[in-house]
């Protein structure tokens, strides 16, 4: 009964046409803005960066197509693995030890202040 009343009340409400305009324009603009950002970063920025990379490769005498593939295909995981390998190589070189034990003699000057002889009672 209560639900029926609510539904009847809802059905009787006449929405301002402006509200539908807001909904249509709102959804459209949100999608359009983010689509624009998507196209920019997917195509335009990629094109600019690839162009920059190719010109850099050309200067260095590298095949530009190879440089481009390397940049776009390399994942963060691969980078992390390479970084870890380089770090391990440079920082864990001490893994192989010489095995030679040396005893270093330390010479100390005599001082009566720490002499056992002077600090014990001669009974």
């Amino acid at each position: 009964m209560m639900n029926q009343q609510l539904l009847t009340a809802l059905a009787s409400v006449q929405l301002d046409p402006m509200s539908w305009t807001i909904v249509a324009v709102g959804i459209g603009i949100v999608f359009m803005s983010l689509l624009l950002v998507y196209f920019f970063f997917r195509y335009i920025l990629t094109f600019i960066l690839n162009f920059k990379l190719r010109s850099f490769a050309r200067r260095k005498g590298i095949d530009p197509s190879e440089a481009d593939t390397a940049r776009t295909m390399m994942s963060g995981e691969v980078n992390a693995a390479i970084a870890m390998a380089i770090y391990s190589y440079f920082n864990e070189l001490h893994d192989v030890e010489s095995g030679v034990i040396t005893i270093k003699r330390v010479s100390k000057n005599y001082s009566p202040w720490s002499s056992k002889l002077y600090n014990m009672k001669n009974l």
Binding site: G26, F31, S33, L36, L49
Partner: protein
């Protein structure tokens, strides 16, 4: 004799005349006089005495002025604090808001228009000054600055198609807008309520402070209701409850096979791309929706501070001290604004109902859009629909939910990095939607 006359005249001019003038024409006064001393003494029997003093004290206590509404709100505040401490549901927000609810619902003597300059709605009180930042929309852009300074857009740059999931989830805002209109709210109020679907607390406060602030006049001469408190509380409550609300919808909307989809790991993003993203993101989005400028301008500014690499101190301040200070202010004042007489209304109950619907619709739309994108994507580039829920802002809770649900389906399938893409896209999308609502209804 003359001296006596002069003294009496001066005394009359100094003390009696101003009072006489004030009592004659109080309405003519151009500046508002804030009365610090009580204008009306409760229980004033005319005979000062010990018992009369005690009675006067009793009349001013919270015990004397408490109503069931105050007690209900205090219990709600305690529940917020309990949820934050016991279950760690958004503790950085729920502890200040919960404490704010306690502060805002200490009963006070307000008969006869008494202004003790203590309560948040009493002009001249400290809380009222702090509440200014909410009323005028000062705090939300500062929060966005901090969010920008701590957000890494790498996952979005490496896979920009995830931006569209952030757009799809914003459909919830506009469906809730229509729902609010059907329930009898006027357009600006409905717009402010709809933004709860964006699942973004600062945006919800920003829009409600502009559209449903209890000050703006409508074309028919009526004033909009002050819905800042209920909208903010609903938005933050549902954000805290994201781990409870979203998983059942996600499981319902996806098949076992879809939940097992493995996405390609995101590629490494160069520093140049990271710097260019906020600059071009700002220009592209704000040229289309200038109403979103206060929020998106600050968001991308914060990100430029972070990614430029030359303003580390500023970025550090924005993402730590500044955002912490503003979070304290916004949480406390929003909580305190929920005074029983303002908050416990039929509208608040409707707003909470609409807010729950908004969250469910936004989550559903994000997942459905991810599924529909898969229809067009080649094998190997498909999107796991479990990240669709992250299109609602709620950073990073909804992304965490994606990760948790992904791990439930496959213990080795981590979705967190992928889910962060639509998550930050949701922040941008909800700010754009807010800008559109402002441009139409503000």
């Amino acid at each position: 004799m003359l001296a006596l006359l002069v003294i009496v005249s001066l005394a009359w001019l100094a003390f009696v005349k101003p009072e006489h003038d004030r009592s004659l024409s109080p309405a003519d006064s151009k500046t508002e006089v804030i009365v610090a001393t009580p204008q009306y003494q409760p229980g004033d029997s005319g005979e000062p005495g010990f018992m009369d003093g005690l009675k006067r004290f009793w009349d001013f206590t919270g015990f004397r002025n408490a109503t069931p509404g105050h007690l209900i709100m205090i219990i709600i505040g305690l529940v917020f604090i309990f949820l934050a401490i016991r279950y760690e549901y958004e503790p950085l927000l729920l502890v200040p808001i919960g404490t704010g609810i306690l502060i805002g619902n200490i009963p006070m003597f307000t008969d006869g228009g008494m202004n003790l300059q203590v309560g948040i709605y009493q002009q001249g009180s400290v809380l009222n000054y702090l509440y200014f930042g909410v009323l005028k929309g000062v705090y939300p852009p500062l929060i966005f600055l901090g969010i920008g300074a701590m957000t890494d857009f790498s996952s979005l740059i490496s896979n920009p198609r995830l931006l569209l999931l952030g757009a799809a989830a914003q459909v919830g805002i506009f469906i809730t807008f229509i729902g609010a209109l059907l329930l009898g709210f006027n357009m600006p109020e409905a717009g402010a309520i709809g933004i709860i679907g964006g699942a973004d607390g600062p945006t919800a406060i920003f829009i409600s402070s502009r559209l449903a602030n209890g000050v703006n006049m409508l074309a028919d001469g009526t004033t909009v209701k002050n819905l800042i408190g209920p909208i903010a509380i609903a938005a933050y409550s549902y954000m805290a409850l994201v781990p409870v609300i979203q998983p059942p919808i996600m499981r319902l909307m996806t098949s076992k096979k879809e939940r097992l989809i493995r996405m390609k790991p995101p590629r490494a993003v160069t520093k140049t791309e990271k710097i260019l993203f906020p600059i071009f993101g700002l220009l592209l989005t704000c040229f289309i929706s200038p109403g979103a400028l206060p929020l998106l301008g600050m968001l991308f500014f914060g990100n430029i501070l972070k990614e430029s690499g030359v303003t580390k101190r500023l970025a550090e301040t924005a993402r730590t001290s500044l955002i912490d200070i503003v979070t304290i202010m916004i949480g406390l004042t929003v909580g305190a604004s929920t005074q029983a007489d303002v908050f416990l209304t039929r509208e608040s109950i409707l707003i909470f109902g609409l807010g729950a619907g908004a969250f469910a619709i936004a989550t559903t739309m994000g997942i459905l859009f991810a599924k529909s994108m898969n229809l067009f994507l080649p094998e190997g580039s498909k999107i796991n629909p479990l990240i669709g829920n992250s299109g609602v802002s709620a950073v990073p809770d909804s992304a965490r939910v994606s990760e948790a649900e992904g791990l439930k389906a496959d213990k080795t399938n981590h979705l967190l990095m992928h889910a962060m893409g639509p998550n930050v896209a949701g922040v941008i999308g909800s700010a754009i939607a807010a800008g559109i609502l402002l441009s139409y209804l503000g």
